[in-house]
Amino acid sequence: MAVTASRPTARKRPADAPGGRPARRRGRIQWKGYLYALPALTVLTVFLLVPLGQLVQISLFHWDGVSASTWAGFANYTEIARDPQLRAGFLHSLVLIFFFSVLPIGLALLLAAITTRASRLRGVSVFRALIFLPQVVAMVVTATAWTAIYAPDGVLNTALRAIGLDAVARPWLGDFTTALPSVGLIGTWLEIGLCLVLFIAGIGQIPGELYEAAKLDGAGAVREFLAVTLPGLRGQITVALTLTVIAALKTFDLVYVATHGGPGNATSLPAFEVYNRAFGTGQVGSACAIAVVLTVVILLITFLITKLQPEEDGT
């Protein structure tokens, strides 16, 4: 979160632009700089960057993790395209993006439009803290709580039966049609707080005069939202999109605890397949290929999302 909120700092101060002149004005090379950066760069290289390179390498081999590997070329990648179960995994991710990202952002925008003045209300910080709470609870805990809610005799079904909707009651996580949306709705629950807090904060920064001006122009609520609120929140929307889309794509613990990918493979996801193939069924090469594709997809989507936002400074 902190990053997200600090984002404008980096963007709006041209002097901060990387490559721009740092605060010091001496023209010569300050070799000591390397020294200060060295420890962090070493840890990053050894534990993150090198494994990332190896990931690509292993993905080109057939390997069961124990015996000798054999060259596979791109076979592990073509398998992803061919294997219907793996393809389905990526499709499930798309569905989750809707629930983790599109739905909460849409809802939060709507709410933000209604509560344009919320940031100035008394006690708003308490609300903000509460709404944001799901974000700090471990995913395993969230999954455990929601598994009980969705259970055949769980809260949800009990409530439905109590109001006479017995026909609707079902084992939400065990039904082929509802399992994936049910997992998705947990994501909606998780992310809506994040979006709402972001947007309320963002609206608080939109100069009040803009709203006054819109009122003077006789703009209704809808016009005001489209002309003032939405453009004012562009930065926050980009941030929310990035965070929630990545959260959807890398969902693992939720599915590990709540469904184990079931029923059938209805909630199998790339991240889950990566784990299962690498450490369960001994298909390490294939697992790495999936991980590579997943990473590329994440980088690409992040890239596309930032494209939405116009360059407005010297970066």
Binding site: M1, A5, P8, A37, S125, V137, T144, I298
Partner: protein, 273 residues
């Protein structure tokens, strides 16, 4: 001026969403306090409060060991990240040398790759080095992951320190080292605290890395313990709820005490813009 109607509407919306966020969590609390005999997946309101579930879950689930591991790992990651991020952030913010931007962007790569991407090679590397099943296997990779954020965060903060302060220190003849620890770090206490909290939370809640790296019962972390506890006690809802609370509580408590700081830290960047 905010009209009374608008104010009321705002409160209603906020209340509804606060309730939505809270209801599942309150359900867990109620369920944990329900005597085991009365327990059902429905969050029944307990006839009488029963703290026995916590004791049972604590004992059966070995949570003493799990929480110990979690604290050790999370604190280590926070400290290591803080020190390394301060040094690197200092370098990227205030030094001028070839490749500085490139190196900075390379650290940012870590912000975007999910753990799923590097956990497989990392596992085999650490196993060959005999490091799996040790706390190092959790501390070092998670420090690397946190550094991507930490370096970015500290660099931005150091850049926001007014040039005049730095110039003044230089005129007084302060060395780089002294400038960093005597002037920059003390002024960045709020930023450091925010970073520490976030890193603590990420590390505490991490699931995949401990799942892969740790098999020794005594070194497992709390979320992992909960996942295993869950599949052994699928129908004992009171116990599960109690265990869930044990796992979530440390971070939630920290959040309750520091949320003002946390959220204001998070908003300060935006305000300064």
């Amino acid at each position: 001026m905010i009209s009374a109607r608008e104010r009321a509407l705002n409160y209603v919306v906020l209340t509804v969403f606060a309730a939505l966020a809270l209801v599942p969590l309150i359900g867990v609390v109620a369920s944990a306090l329900t005597p085991a005999a009365q327990a059902s997946p429905t969050f029944t309101w307990p006839h009488h409060l029963d703290l026995g579930n916590f004791a049972t879950a604590w004992r059966q689930g070995h949570f003493a060991a799990y929480l110990g591991s979690s604290v050790l790992v999370a604190v280590s990651v926070v400290v290591l990240t803080a020190v390394l991020a301060v040094l690197a952030g200092f370098s990227f913010a205030l030094f001028d040398y070839p490749g500085r931007s490139l190196l900075f962007y390379v650290t940012l790569v870590g912000l975007m790759v999910p753990p799923e991407a590097f956990v497989i090679p990392l596992y085999f590397n650490l196993r060959d080095a005999g490091l799996t099943d040790s706390y190092w296997a959790l501390i070092l990779p998670q420090t690397a992951q946190s550094l991507a954020f930490g370096v970015f965060w500290m660099r931005n903060f150091f850049r926001s320190v007014p040039v005049s302060i730095i110039e003044a220190a230089r005129l007084d003849g302060a060395t780089d080292w002294r400038l960093l620890w005597r002037i920059l770090v003390p002024t960045s206490r709020p930023a450091l605290l925010t970073m520490a909290m976030l890193v603590f939370m990420w590390t505490w809640n991490e699931f995949l890395l401990p799942l892969v790296m740790i098999t020794d019962e005594n070194k497992r972390t709390a979320p992992l313990g909960l996942a295993f506890f869950q599949s052994e006690h699928t129908t004992q809802y009171s116990l599960l709820a109690a265990a869930s609370i044990i796992v979530a509580l440390p971070v939630v408590a920290l959040y309750v005490f520091l949320q003002r700081h946390f959220i204001s830290g998070m908003l300060s960047g935006a305000v300064k813009a």
